[in-house]
């Protein structure tokens, strides 16, 4: 029994100007799909703004019609969303103007080799806005109109090919169009077919001979499978109720603000988290806020830790009670925030010209006792020993849980020993 072939087109009157090549392309595509026995429900036609977008109402398939130049990206989204549904064909239309806007989208689709066919209707001009040239207008055409003839067009076929498209080709002859279309539709992965024509309103009148104007036909293939999008199983980021319960006590009643100031790579952010977590172990509410330059690998690194018996809503720290400062970068960053309320724990290397009016300054040679990476931890732990905000055991438990505990615990021991 012969299979009943589904009609792909709605039968609506074609909206194209008389003689426009777009109509030829639509009819040939519909025939190729029908001949291949493809169901309407298995086809998604993606289009955007411009004459190429006029195809939208012509297809009696699934359709989606978006923004000028963006159909390759929109189509990629659809293709990725349907990648696990077998048998679906995403066919995206774009014009030469749209392809100029969305050039990166085309290259991205090629690079990812998504399962989608892009049909580029290149009629040399922006047909809806007055016949302006696009980035794909050929040099020969521009010579005729005497405009930007020294600027070559993008060869989008070659660009797609070197970006990884499974198949990329240009066809100029209507006679061969069906063959190219069949190849583009049947090939899995990203396929691009540039179909050259001349806008009858703005290009054809000015031209002696169509084939003298367009770029030569070409076709390339990359032997690579399409990128597959597959759902993966993931674990929750946390289980509600997980965390530490209070197993120590703390004398802190009123809010305490601690400022840790050092340099990138010195573990300041980690030490901030250790202190805030140790605070939880000691039954307090805590916050930890990091500050560092956009260039995360250089310059200052500052962490603010708040310890409080009450709930903490506002997380700002205007005047810290304690500042632990271990590097020059850190000192320069927090200099303006130190006040007569602040007690400063300072690395010996910074003592010489430290003249800020703070509550108290305690100096120790933290940097001489451990490596630069451990200096902040040593200074913070020693501060904790002196200030007694939290028992050192709380900090020890946090460090012991860390994958680098073998590095950290000896630093804590040094803090215990240090007078």
């Amino acid at each position: 029994m012969a299979e009943v072939k589904e009609k792909i087109l709605t039968g609506k009157k074609f909206p194209f100007c008389p003689g426009c090549g777009h109509g030829v392309a639509v009819r040939q595509l519909a025939k190729v799909l029908e001949d291949a026995g493809i169901r309407r429900h298995d086809v998604v036609v993606v289009s955007d703004i411009g004459c190429s977008g006029l195809v939208d109402p012509l297809f009696d398939t699934h359709t989606i019609h978006g923004l000028h130049g963006r159909s390759p990206a929109l189509g990629m989204g659809v293709a990725m969303g349907l990648d696990e549904v077998p048998g679906k064909k995403v066919i995206t239309f774009i014009g030469d103007g749209g392809a100029t806007i969305g050039l990166q989208h085309v290259l991205e689709a090629a690079r990812r080799n998504v399962n989608m066919t892009l049909i580029l209707l290149n009629n040399q001009v922006y047909g809806m806005t007055g016949g302006q040239i696009s980035g794909l207008t050929t040099t020969k055409f521009k010579e005729i109109i005497d405009f930007e003839k020294d600027v070559p067009p993008f060869d989008i076929v070659k660009l797609a090919h070197i970006s990884g498209a499974r198949y990329a080709a240009r066809v100029n002859s209507p006679k061969q169009m069906a063959e190219y279309l069949r190849k583009a539709i049947e090939t899995e992965g990203f396929t691009l077919l540039e179909i050259a024509s001349l806008c009858t309103s703005y290009a054809f009148k000015k031209l002696p001979e169509f084939l003298e104007v367009v770029e030569p036909e070409e076709a390339y293939e990359n032997d690579r499978p399409p990128t597959r999008i597959r759902r993966r199983e993931t674990a929750p980021l946390f289980e509600p109720g997980e965390g530490y319960e209070a197993r120590y006590s703390s004398p802190v009643e009123e809010r305490k603000g601690i400022l840790l100031a050092g340099s990138a790579g010195g573990g300041v952010q980690s030490v901030g988290k250790f202190l805030a977590t140790a605070g939880i172990l000691a039954g307090l509410n805590t916050t930890m806020k990091g500050e560092y330059p956009i260039t995360v690998g250089t310059g200052f690194s500052v962490a603010e830790v708040i310890l409080d018996r009450d709930d903490i809503h506002y997380t700002g720290l205007a005047a810290p009670d304690v500042a632990v400062i271990v590097t020059r970068d850190g000192l320069e960053k927090v200099r303006g925030r130190l006040s007569p309320q602040t007690k400063v724990y300072l690395d010996e290397s910074l003592e010489k010209d430290f003249d800020l009016p703070v509550r108290d300054v305690v100096v120790r040679p933290f940097g001489k006792l451990v490596s630069p990476k451990s200096k902040a931890l040593l200074a913070a732990a020693w501060m904790l020993k002196r200030e007694k905000f939290l028992p050192l055991e709380a900090l020890r438990d946090v460090l012991a849980d860390h994958r680098l505990s073998a590095l950290f615990l000896p630093v804590l021991d040094k803090a215990v020993e240090l007078e």
């Binding site: 429900h41 398939t61 674990a235 965390g243 530490y244």
Partner: protein, 375 residues
């Protein structure tokens, strides 16, 4: 006795987990400070994760994925949101569900990427050409980061619309000790397949919202478009049926507002003579300010608005029931105040505003104290 356990956590983690539990399944992202934590968490948590080459592509992929049946989310800051804007308009007109988390930072332009702000509200008020409203939910606490993130996903799906989750640097990056056992359970909202025969892609079936038939459906052919269109999804110029569909976009967001209206109205036993109105990160400072004022014998009530847009009548009624108002928000002019009262601030309305650092509880308390001496 149940022991309390606390963990050091940030709002990005809470929001990402909540969105995943609410049914978001794909994160499409382009990195930008200060939204990168969500990018990192989503990389671990979302069943699909796509690294887009820019923010324009991000929105296009999200739209395509949503049209094909996925529930996409992203996170960005103003420079990225600006690039997404044409795509957001497209998704709004196409009626595609998605959640866009905005981590506000100091502008204009590149501004200061690691400094918080609340400066993007007015932009969102007018983001859709023609002045059509988009739901804007703004978490005011870690609890909200959880519940509003889930609400945003649910609202996006129910109403087939982009929804904004308007946060700021402090809400997404600062870590707090937090008891996650208090978080309410999240049940994902699953769209029922309600189709009226004959199927018309943009004919509303419930809550002024059309059935969401995905591209590639084996039973119904769907037609999705951003251009002015009729119920069949056929592009029309300004014809009555098409314009009715366009008007419905606004009606849909307004009509369903009770389903996603969130706010907190904190009052003492007696109504205070002044109401603090705030949102987002500044709500945390306002909560402290209310305590300070109580101690000082100058009570103030507090309204934390969480569904900022569209503005609910219920919110206006609460605000209108006070003779003195103090708005607190971290931007230059008081953007929420401007949305309610315009650029000419009435005499009974005061504002605590600022840029470059968080509004402090003291600044809010002082502004309230002043109203006690004023008139």
């Amino acid at each position: 006795m149940k022991t309390t356990r606390k963990t050091l956590i940030d709002g990005s983690k809470l929001a990402t987990e909540a969105m995943a539990r609410a049914g978001a399944d794909v994160f499409v992202g382009y990195p930008i400070t200060p939204s990168n934590l969500m990018y990192a968490y989503a990389r671990r948590r979302m069943p699909y994760f796509l690294a887009a080459p820019d923010e324009i592509t991000t929105l296009q992929w999200m739209a395509g994925l949503a049209a094909a049946g996925k529930m996409p989310v992203t996170s960005s800051a103003f420079p990225g949101i600006a690039l997404m804007t044409e795509g957001i308009n497209m998704a709004y007109a196409m009626e595609l569900p998605m959640v866009i988390m905005i981590t506000q930072r100091l502008g204009p332009s590149t501004g200061s990427a690691t400094t918080g702000a609340q400066g993007d509200l007015l932009f969102l008020k007018g983001i859709i050409s023609g002045g059509y409203p988009v739901p804007v939910l703004s978490p005011s606490s870690f609890e909200d980061m959880w519940s509003l993130a889930a609400k945003a996903v649910e609202t996006a799906r129910r109403l087939r619309t982009p929804v904004f989750l308007l946060t700021s640097k402090e809400m997404v990056m600062t870590q707090k000790s937090f008891d996650t056992s208090k978080l309410p359970e999240i049940t994902p909202w699953k769209p029922a397949r309600r189709v009226r025969e004959p199927f018309r892609p943009y004919e509303p079936v419930e809550a002024l919202t059309p059935a969401h038939i995905f591209l590639g459906d084996d039973e119904y052919l769907t037609r999705i478009t951003a251009s002015t269109h009729d119920a069949d999804g056929m592009i029309r110029k300004a014809e009555p049926e098409a314009l009715a569909n366009t008007r419905r976009l606004r009606d849909k967001i307004l009509h369903n507002l009770p389903d996603y209206l969130e706010y907190e109205w904190i009052r003492g036993e007696e109504k205070a003579p002044v109401l603090i109105v705030t949102w987002g990160v500044t709500a945390e400072a306002a909560r402290d300010a209310v305590k300070m004022l109580e101690k000082a014998g100058r009570p103030a009530d507090l309204l934390v608005v969480k569904t900022l847009l569209p503005v609910a009548e219920e919110i206006r009624e609460i605000i209108d029931s006070y003779t003195k108002l103090v708005f607190a928000e971290e931007n230059l002019t008081g953007q929420y105040k401007e949305i309610l009262f315009g650029e000419q601030t009435p005499a009974h309305v005061f504002a605590v505003t600022g840029i470059g650092e968080m509004i402090t509880p003291r600044a809010i308390a002082e502004a309230v104290e002043k109203t006690y001496h004023h008139g």
